[in-house]
Symmetry: C2
Subunit: 302 residues, 2 copies
Amino acid sequence: MTQAFKRVAIFGVGLIGGSFALALKKTGAVGEIVGVGRSRAALDTALQLGIVDCIAHNAEEALQGTDLVLIAAPVAQTTAILSSIQPHLRGGVIVTDAGSTKADVVAAARQTLGGKIGQFVPAHPIAGRELNGPQAALVDLYAGKKVVITRLPDNLDADVQRVAWAWQQCGAIIHYLAPAEHDAVFAAVSHLPHLLAYALVDDIARKENADTLFQYAASGFRDFTRIAGSSPEMWRDISIANRSAMLSELDSYLARLADMRNFLQNADAEKIAAVYSNAQRARHNWISAIEAAEKQQQQGGD
Amino acid sequence: MTQAFKRVAIFGVGLIGGSFALALKKTGAVGEIVGVGRSRAALDTALQLGIVDCIAHNAEEALQGTDLVLIAAPVAQTTAILSSIQPHLRGGVIVTDAGSTKADVVAAARQTLGGKIGQFVPAHPIAGRELNGPQAALVDLYAGKKVVITRLPDNLDADVQRVAWAWQQCGAIIHYLAPAEHDAVFAAVSHLPHLLAYALVDDIARKENADTLFQYAASGFRDFTRIAGSSPEMWRDISIANRSAMLSELDSYLARLADMRNFLQNADAEKIAAVYSNAQRARHNWISAIEAAEKQQQQGGD
């Protein structure tokens, strides 16, 4: 359980993969880290910054002597990367990923890895920054953050524990969800909010008086739309990958908005206040729970 | 133009009225400030904190020797306050307000003030905090913030300029919009976003697995829903007061969400990316413009 990895191969040495590498190195949880990726410039930067110890030119090179593989490239590349790994994947080597959606990744892994699917332990670290690339990597990006492992029935307990241990070395807190449950949860609390924020800014930007509107937008609008400043390519891929869960959440929300539309039209102050109060109370309780957990963590608790 | 007010009466000595009072006092723009309000405790606090110099027990007392009246109580009280002021409103005395909606306030003022409507100069300072009450008042709450004056055809230029001057003494930047235009603009960039944030948190809180959902909500969700932590009573009143402009903005947004629903259902990555990219670009330009303006202000420009 507590044995360090000999060699970790990271496909995609950007913010996510780079921060994982820095944290593993700091805690001595790995002998050597090899970087692989499509961008030579990113790999060179990662090498210069000491994020990786060496660079592999292909999957075969990357997997030589490697006991853990992390796929941290944009999710659109996951299938291609899994395909390139498959022929060189010896028994006992663990592959994990960092994708924001899981059911689609699991389906791709089943198809490409075939009989080796048990070696793939899907995971999703809940952490990020507005910056990207290896120069954005932080040794403590995952400290106190959640990592959701969506283990497969095919996985060995020991392999799941090895992946959990690696993330724990980064300071992360491990949670377990089934892949479909993971996707439904994040559709509700992350993917749909991104779509809503993008759609609102787009809607305003298309209006004739957009300049006037933006001129009067203040700090509330700024916070509400901060997630609409995220990478459009990344969120397009997430939206497509998780579209069925997102549709289900969107429909639930549209039904609530239809209610709100009626309340407004009928000037039903009481029903509007009920929704606003319920939301304010729920958010307050949520924030209080977060702050209590943070306090406990600072005090060295769990 | 640059002559100080002899006596300013403030109806509602909370965050908004209290901050106005502190700023006017600091710059010597007022001889005396009198507080009026329903809450004796708030008035006493304001007196203790030096926000007001004295307390009036009714509108008649408040208007004795007063040359400027600010109505800064919850908007639901505006009509009652205007009615109480009307019999005691001598010629030359200016009344202004700080309400978040303007068409409804103007209609109420026309009805209650009758022939004295010209003395009412409606305004809306775009500033706030999460805290309320006189103890939350800040001398620099309005520094660098916008105040929108929605002047009436009945107003004298000199009176509008006096109100503008008062807010400028608080460090605010004066903008002018017609009342209906004001309400349409703030429906789009403030009132609808509040409704959307409240409705989303409410929708999630009503789900059976709400606890699990909140458990995985992260910083993006926290920022997106920050405005759902605002006072439900205040936003109920704003929603009712500005419901027709909000309905119009909500319908525009619902149409955009219906498009997004189709794009998701058809897995139309290109169209989703177009919306996300347009939003990200528009938001980036908006933030850049804000930052440029802030820089200019810091350098002593306008």
